[in-house]
Point group: C2
Chain length 412, copies 2
Amino acid sequence: MTATPPLLPELAALTGDDSMLTRRFGKEVTNYFAGSRLNRYSFLRSDAVFLNKAATDPSARFVALKDLSPLVVDKRKLALLTFEDVKPLISEPFTRPDKERIKSHDSTGAPSILIVFLGTIDGDDVTFETSEHGDVKGQPFFAIDITTRGQEKDAVESWLKIQEEKGLRIVTDTRSLSLHSEAAAMFAQARSIIDWNTRHGFCAGCGNPNLSVEAGYKRVCPPTDLKGGSEAIDLPDCPTRHGVSNVCFPRTDPTMIAAIVSADGQRMLLGRQTRFPPNWYSALAGFLEPGESVEEAVRREVWEEAGVRVGRVVVHSTQPWPYPSSLMIGAIAQALPGDAENINLNDKELESAKWFTIEEVREALARTPGTMSAPPPNDYKEGDLRVPPPQAIANRLMTAVVEGYLSGNPKI
Amino acid sequence: MTATPPLLPELAALTGDDSMLTRRFGKEVTNYFAGSRLNRYSFLRSDAVFLNKAATDPSARFVALKDLSPLVVDKRKLALLTFEDVKPLISEPFTRPDKERIKSHDSTGAPSILIVFLGTIDGDDVTFETSEHGDVKGQPFFAIDITTRGQEKDAVESWLKIQEEKGLRIVTDTRSLSLHSEAAAMFAQARSIIDWNTRHGFCAGCGNPNLSVEAGYKRVCPPTDLKGGSEAIDLPDCPTRHGVSNVCFPRTDPTMIAAIVSADGQRMLLGRQTRFPPNWYSALAGFLEPGESVEEAVRREVWEEAGVRVGRVVVHSTQPWPYPSSLMIGAIAQALPGDAENINLNDKELESAKWFTIEEVREALARTPGTMSAPPPNDYKEGDLRVPPPQAIANRLMTAVVEGYLSGNPKI
C-alpha cells in the first residue's frame, strides 16, 4: 500500500504569486480561467494503461466537483486530493480500455463516477510509461464528479462528510470564489467537461444512451447494448455512425464580447441586463452563429442589442468561461459616426444600453470589487456606474480602452 | 395569385465584383465564407407572422440544399428560387407559431421540410410588419433542406427534376465550387444550420425526439408528445428542462489554425495529413477545448502535432467553415528559439511536419489553384510544395507572413 502523502502539498505552488505562474508572450493578455500550466496530453486520453498508472500514482492530484461546485480549502484554494483520498470512490480507475467498455456497454448499469484527465504539470519527478508515446514526465491531475446519483449516493455522501471533517467544503456560490489563476483554470476545465458529460447522456443522432470515453472528452454511441443481460443486443442504425464519427465532442461555444468606443473615441457603449445588480453595466456580448466571422458577430449583436452600427473590430484577448463552456472572444470595436451611434434596443434583450464617458468608466473600474458577487466598496456613491471585476474579460476590455488601447501602438 | 418574378434576378448582385460586396474596416481581413450582407434579425425567428409574410413575398429568395449540397446555376452561382418555385414543397410556411407546434408535438409524424431564415438584405423596396419589432425593410432570404426523407421523397424528387430541366443542378463536390463571396457566405450559413438540425434530432439530455423551432436555430425538447394520437402524453422529466433551457442551440466549434514562423523569422512550419494530395502542406489546426484560451490552444496543438514550442500568438482573422460548423480562428505565431523548434510528431496525427523557407512558401502560394479540389497548374514541378487556395484561411495566413505581417506595423 502506498503511504498517504501529506494533504495538498502543492497548494503553495498553486496559490503563489500570479505573475510567476502566467507565461506572457509579447502583448498577450492572459485572462482569468486561462493561464493553466497543465499539459493536456490529449493523445493519452485513450491510453487506459497510462491513465491507470497516472491516477493511482502517489503524485496524482484530484479536484472534486459536486453539482459543478468545487471542493475547496478556502475561497482561494482548490482542494487537491490524493488517490488515497479518493480511493473509496474510484478504487480501480481506467482498468478497462474504452474499446472493451464500448463492447460491454450496458445502458441499464449504474453510472460510474466520471474521472476526467486534466493533464500533467511537466517536471522530472515522476515518469510514466505510455503504450505508444514513450515516457511522460510530470505530475498528473484529474477531476472527479462527486454529484450524488442513484446507488452511489450513500457512498459519496459519507465520503464527503470525511472531507468536511478535514476542513474542506463545497462552495456552491462559485462566483464568490477568488481562486488563484492556475486553480481557476483547472476548475474551468473540470467544470466545463463534467457539465458537458452530465448534459449529454443520450446520442443526439438516435436518442440511445451513450457512453463517456477518453477520460471524459468524448461520448460514443455504442452499436450494441447488454440491456441488463449477458448478450450484446444490436442497436438500430444511428446516423452518427456514418461518415466521420459516431462520437460527440465537448462543446465550446464561441461568444463575442466587445467594448464599443464611440467614433470620436470619447465614450464607451455599455449595456445592462435586468438580472444585474443596480447601476451595473457591462460590455455587450452574444453567441457567435454558424457562418459568421468574429467581426460580423460583433456587428450583428451590437446592432441587435443596442442599435449601434460598428465599424472596425479588433480582437483583444480571449477567455474560457466555464458557465457552462464558452470561449469569450474579447474585442474592442469602434462605432461608425453620426446616426450610427443612436441607441435602439432592437431585440429588447437588454434593459438598457448607454454611452458613458471614458472618465466615468475609469472611475467605475477603480472601484470594482474583487469578485463577481462582492458588494460595492464603502466609498461607492449610490447611482454611480458599477462594472464587473477583473476576473471578467469585460473589465479587461474596458481597462484596455481606458489605458489607450485604440490610440495607435502596435498591438502585438 | 402572385405573378412569378423572373428567375434569379439578383444573381448579378451576388456574383458581382467581390471588392464591392466586402465591407472592410481598418485592416480587417474578410475570409471566404464570411462577408455576408444578410441582416440575420435573430430576434424575428420566433415571429411566425413575420416569417410567413417574408417567405411568401415575391421578393423572397430560397437556396436549396440536398444532402448538404447546394442547388446551383453554375460553379459560381447559387440558385436563388422564388416562393412560387418552392411552393410545391412548402405551401404554407410558418403558419403555426412555435408555441402551438410544441404543444401539438407528435414524434410519430413525418418530418416536414426544414426552412431556415437566413436574414434580409436591407433595402427600401419591401417592408414587412412584425409582431413586436416595428417595420422591417429588406429582401428576405431562406434556405430549404430538400434532402429526400420518408414520405416527402417522391414529391421532392419530381420537384428536383423540374429544377434540373431549368438548368439548375446539385453539386455534391462542394469543394469544386468557386461561389462569389456573398453566395459562399449564404451557403455556409445554410449548410451549417441544416447539418446541425439533421444531426440533432434527439434531446441529448433525455433521448426523446426533439423539435426544430425558431426557423431552424433552436431545437426544443417538448414536455408532451401526441405519439400518433389526439391526446398529449406527458413525457418523463428531462434534465434540460431545469435551469436556463430545455432547448439546444446550433454548435459553432472554435478551431485554431496557425502559421508558425521560426524564431529567426526565416521559415514556416507546415504539416500534412495522409489524406492530402501529394506534396500538399498546410497550417496546423485543431479544435479548441473547454477551459483554454486561443493562445493556449495554439501552443497545445502545435506541440501535440509537431513538437514545436510556440511563444507569441497573434490572431490574424477568423473564418466560418461550414464542414460542418467551425469558426476557424486564424493566428500567426512564433516558435521559441533553439530546441523548441525541433519537430516531433507527438500525437502521431500528422503524416509529416516540416520547416519550409519563406521563399518556398511564397512560390507555392503563387501557384495555388482556384479551388480546393483543382489540380496543380501546368508549370508545377513534381515535388514542389503545394498549399491550399485562397478560399482557405491557411492560405491567407501564409500570405500575410510572406507579405511581412510580423515585421512590426500596427495590426489594426
